[in-house]
């Protein structure tokens, strides 16, 4: 069974690396390079989990998360924040808005991120 993951990430290289890792493990991956596209794709793709960056061009990740959680159609899709912010305020804000988890990019390897996703998908 292929689980569909949406990756919202503005850095091209990080997006490629993460996609590669997920694809190699048999996940189906769609990507969005900014917040606008992210929101649209959460609605159109209905992924099983969203990996969401916070600092994005245009609408930032917090807003994407808030919109996704307000829309009954997408409110149940789990969102994991994957960002380089990581101060206590940011983490609290993300979790309050309904994120399942908050991962600081520089503190996790791709495999560790996948492991987190696995526990959420189970």
């Amino acid at each position: 069974m292929f689980k569909k993951i949406l990756l919202v990430e503005d850095d091209k290289f990080l997006r490629e690396l993460m996609s590669k890792k997920l694809l190699s493990l048999g996940y189906e991956v769609s990507t969005a390079p900014d917040g606008e596209t992210g929101i649209e794709m959460i609605k159109s793709e209905k992924p099983e989990v969203v990996l969401l960056d916070l600092i994005l061009p245009g609408i930032n990740g917090f807003d994407v998360l808030e919109k996704a959680k307000k829309d009954p159609e997408t409110a149940n899709i789990p969102v994991v924040i994957l960002s380089n912010l990581g101060q206590s305020e940011d983490i609290e804000r993300g979790l309050k808005l309904g994120a399942k988890d908050f991962l600081v990019k520089a503190h996790f390897t791709p495999q560790e991120i996948v492991n987190k996703l696995k526990t959420i998908l189970e």
């Binding site: 850095d11 990080l14 690396l17 993460m18 890792k21 380089n84 206590s88 305020e89 520089a106 503190h107």
Partner: protein, 390 residues
């Protein structure tokens, strides 16, 4: 008879003449004194008028006697609205609330030395109030208002810059971390042992860089004065336990024996930012490990000191040279002997540690002898039990 009278008159006239001369002399002196006083006043006023600090002189009851132009500008009032009025009536406005609270103690003004207050309109002032002993009047109060808006702005820009730079650096560092890890995991094809060895070393270097960025971010948080987050009541024993647990690998790698001694009875709780307090214990433990020889011993002792908890960590490591002990808590400082011994380290650990301890109203100090070892101590006050909890 006539001659006697005329003699008396002559004497009186003479006396009157002398009195007149004396009076004229006094008048002349008074006039001189008045001129000097006027000159002094003009001098003082000229200094006041041209000072970039705001000055207010109040009498004992808080009535304003003198106000300088800068002070008028800070208070946004004309001279005639200020002089003769009570100072606290002038600062009744909501935006001066902080200033008023700072200076007011019961019904009188208290002495203040260089305290910062925000007074709205993006204006920050450094306030001092000084009691003057005067010769003629009871006592006067001098209030000095110094504009530090620009200083604060520059300081803020500096910390913001470091914070943004650090966050920006994290993105490429993440990319490097992910790439190396994926290559090590074989996600980009099989690699040779030599390649693996090199990649592993690169990975460790990169991790160090990530750690350094974290240290820098912590320092900017300290300097922004918003370092402590949510403080919760917790046992210090638990924090120490968790940190020791997560350091097991490090200890094993260096073959270091760690001995922990906690009081038999559970100590009262401390109210701390758990993450930051863990960082304190972790920094001290990591230092002890880093600067001890392989196979050495470290001892952690927790003591109940009545109103506070005392944490001790004793190592038999390289120690801190006597002539450098004073600078040990300064930012970016590293001892000569440890620079030679171990190349890594940002010099930010103990600076951060001290700031965290002090933000929790604790104290930190150490004893050290080169080549014999170091003992670091810190205290955290216990949560005071309120009456109904007793």
């Amino acid at each position: 008879m006539d001659t006697r009278i005329s003699n008396i008159i002559e004497n009186k006239e003479d006396a009157l003449r002398r009195v007149r001369i004396a009076l004229l002399n006094i008048l002349e002196d008074t006039e001189d004194a008045r001129k000097i006083a006027v000159d002094e006043r003009n001098k003082t006023m000229a200094i006041l008028e041209n000072l970039t600090d705001g000055i207010l002189l109040l009498d004992m009851n808080g009535k304003v006697e003198i106000v300088s132009p800068m002070a008028r500008e800070f208070l946004k009032k004309e001279e005639n609205e200020i002089v003769g009025n009570n100072f606290f009536d002038l600062v009744n406005d909501e935006k001066f609330k902080e200033l008023k609270e700072l200076l007011k103690e019961d019904e009188r003004i208290k002495a203040v030395h260089r305290k910062e207050v925000d007074v709205g309109d993006n204006l920050s002032l450094e306030v001092s109030s000084i009691f003057l002993k005067a010769e003629s009047v009871d006592k006067e109060i001098l209030i000095i208002l110094h504009d530090i808006t620009r200083d604060k702005l520059v300081e803020k820009m500096k910390t913001e810059f470091v914070s943004i730079a650090a966050h920006q650096l994290r993105t490429p560092l993440s990319a490097i971390k992910w790439t190396i890890k994926m290559m090590l995991d074989g996600d980009a094809g099989k690699i040779t042992e030599d390649q693996k060895d090199l990649l592993e070393k690169t990975y460790i270097s990169n991790e160090r860089m990530i750690g350094l960025i974290n240290d820098l971010l912590n320092v900017t948080r300290i300097e922004e004065g918003r370092f402590l987050y949510r403080q919760e009541k917790i046992q210090l024993e638990d924090i120490v336990g968790l940190v020791v647990e997560s350091s097991a690998e490090l200890l094993e790698m260096r073959k270091i024996k760690l001995d922990i001694d906690v009081p038999k009875d559970l100590m009262p709780e401390v109210k701390v930012d758990k993450e930051k307090m863990s960082l304190v214990v972790q920094n001290l433990l990591e230092n002890a490990v880093k600067y001890s020889k392989e196979g050495s011993e470290i001892k952690i002792i927790l003591e109940n000191k009545g109103s506070e908890a005392l944490f001790k960590i004793i190592d038999k490591g390289v120690g801190i040279p006597k002539n450098q002990q004073e600078r040990i808590f300064t930012k970016f400082f590293r001892g000569d002997n440890v620079v030679a011994l171990e190349t890594e380290g940002s010099g930010l650990g103990l600076y951060t540690t001290k700031n965290i301890v002090e933000a929790h109203k604790g104290k930190i100090w150490f004893e050290s002898e080169e080549n014999k070892g170091t003992t670091f101590y810190f205290t955290v006050p216990f949560v005071k039990k309120s009456m109904n909890e007793k």
